[in-house]
């Protein structure tokens, strides 16, 4: 009871005591919060605001991860089914990434939305390297860009080599008709000897390496088959019906391009969701760690302010006692 009276008196006298200079240990905490000099009670408001916003960010990134996971599940089935569409073409015509042609068109598939980690940057890097590799005297390569993110990166330094830019591809769920209309538009607008499609192939949720798929124009296929090598066996096939070999090769080339594009777009979409999942996951983890550190700072600040108040009360009371 006596202590309570002392405490009450101490508190009454506390406002009369001139503000104590803040000790060095606490001043480091204060200077972060930019409190004016000489204020006694250390404010925890700033730290509390930061904690609230970090917690909200953590919730949002967790939700984004869940959304990406569910989208991934849906589109992964489609991508795996679409692999069977281009495999017969590779069985027939082979894959010739090292073919040497005059006009190369590099098609870069990327996403429209961000927050998906580094997949778009790797695709762009590979495309630029491919462009350097395939250009030279009498050889030329140009870009066809799918997706906003790659477009932004290409605009910076390869503006002159861009032929077409396509965006808003994922407004509706991806289907073959859409990709084939797109492929048709590309074929109409671009002349090429070889098309190289750069995309991120989906192996698993954590592994999506960039890959290049090559589609040759019918003239190039003719040339290669005459010169022997992989395509030399093409002549040993019999052709039924009234079409010539050139006709068939042209139909095949167009259809092959459409199928390979379909697979590329689907696999890239899968990789995008997978990359977004892991990016959001590491983001939530970082937010959690940040929250832990902030909580420690908050508690330290809070305890320091309690200790300061106690010291003032007690020193006030002892000053009274004389």
């Amino acid at each position: 009871m006596a202590m309570a009276a002392l405490r009450r008196e101490g508190r009454r006298f506390v406002p009369l005591i001139s503000p104590q200079p803040i000790s060095a240990v606490q001043s480091s905490v204060i200077s972060q919060e930019q409190a004016p000099q000489g204020v006694r009670s250390i404010s925890t408001q700033v730290v509390r605001n930061r904690m609230k916003s970090v917690k909200n960010i953590q919730k949002i990134t967790k939700a984004m991860k869940m959304v990406a996971a569910s989208k991934l599940r849906a589109i992964q089935i489609k991508a795996e089914n679409s692999r069977g569409v281009w495999q017969p073409f590779t069985a027939l015509l082979g894959d010739n990434p090292s073919v040497d042609v005059k006009k190369n068109v590099i098609i870069t598939v990327s996403s429209d939305k961000g927050l998906c980690g580094g997949i778009n940057s790797t695709s762009v890097k590979i495309s630029k390297a491919l462009q350097k590799l395939t250009s030279g005297p009498e050889k030329q390569s140009t870009y066809v860009v799918l997706g906003e993110k790659a477009k932004a990166q290409f605009i910076r330094d390869s503006k002159d080599n861009i032929e077409l830019c396509i965006t808003e591809l994922q407004r509706n769920p991806l289907n073959y008709t859409q990709v084939s209309v797109l492929a048709d538009d590309i074929l109409k607008n671009v002349e090429y000897d070889a098309l190289r499609i750069v995309f991120n192939k989906f192996h698993s949720v954590v592994s999506f390496p960039p890959t290049v798929a090559t589609v040759l124009s019918p003239e190039t296929v003719e040339r290669e088959s005459e010169s022997g090598g992989n395509l030399g066996v093409l002549d040993s096939y019999e052709i039924e019906g009234g079409e010539t070999k050139g006709e068939i090769l042209q139909n095949l080339a167009e259809f092959q391009f459409s199928c390979v594009m379909f697979n590329a777009v689907l696999e890239n979409a899968c990789s995008e969701q997978g990359a977004r999942m892991s990016a959001m996951d590491s983001s939530s983890r970082n937010a959690g760690e940040m929250l832990d550190r902030l909580t420690l700072t908050y508690n330290r600040t809070r305890q320091a302010s309690i200790t300061t108040e106690l010291i003032e009360i007690i020193s006030g009371a002892s000053a009274l006692k004389g």
């Binding site: 077409l164 965006t167 073959y176 538009d185 009234g242 006709e247 259809f255």
Partner: protein
């Protein structure tokens, strides 16, 4: 049946590519389905993207291709 030996098929003479031809055929097949499956299948034909050509490092006005399953 094919009286043409080296003549071009009708659709290529009309300016279509094989892709356009096969899309039209696919659309015809989808329209042969009966009701609940038909609307499902037709939703798988929706097209939407925006294409812009570039000349000399400058983009031209983008053309929007939307909701047209075939050319």
């Amino acid at each position: 049946m094919a009286s043409q030996t080296a003549a071009v098929p009708f659709w290529r003479a009309a300016g279509m590519t094989y892709i356009t031809y096969s899309n039209i055929c696919a659309n015809l097949v989808r329209n042969c389905l009966k009701e609940p499956h038909k609307t499902e299948a037709l939703t798988r034909e929706k097209v939407h993207f925006s294409l812009s050509k570039w000349t000399d490092g400058k983009p031209q006005k983008p053309t929007l291709r939307s909701d047209t399953p075939e050319d």
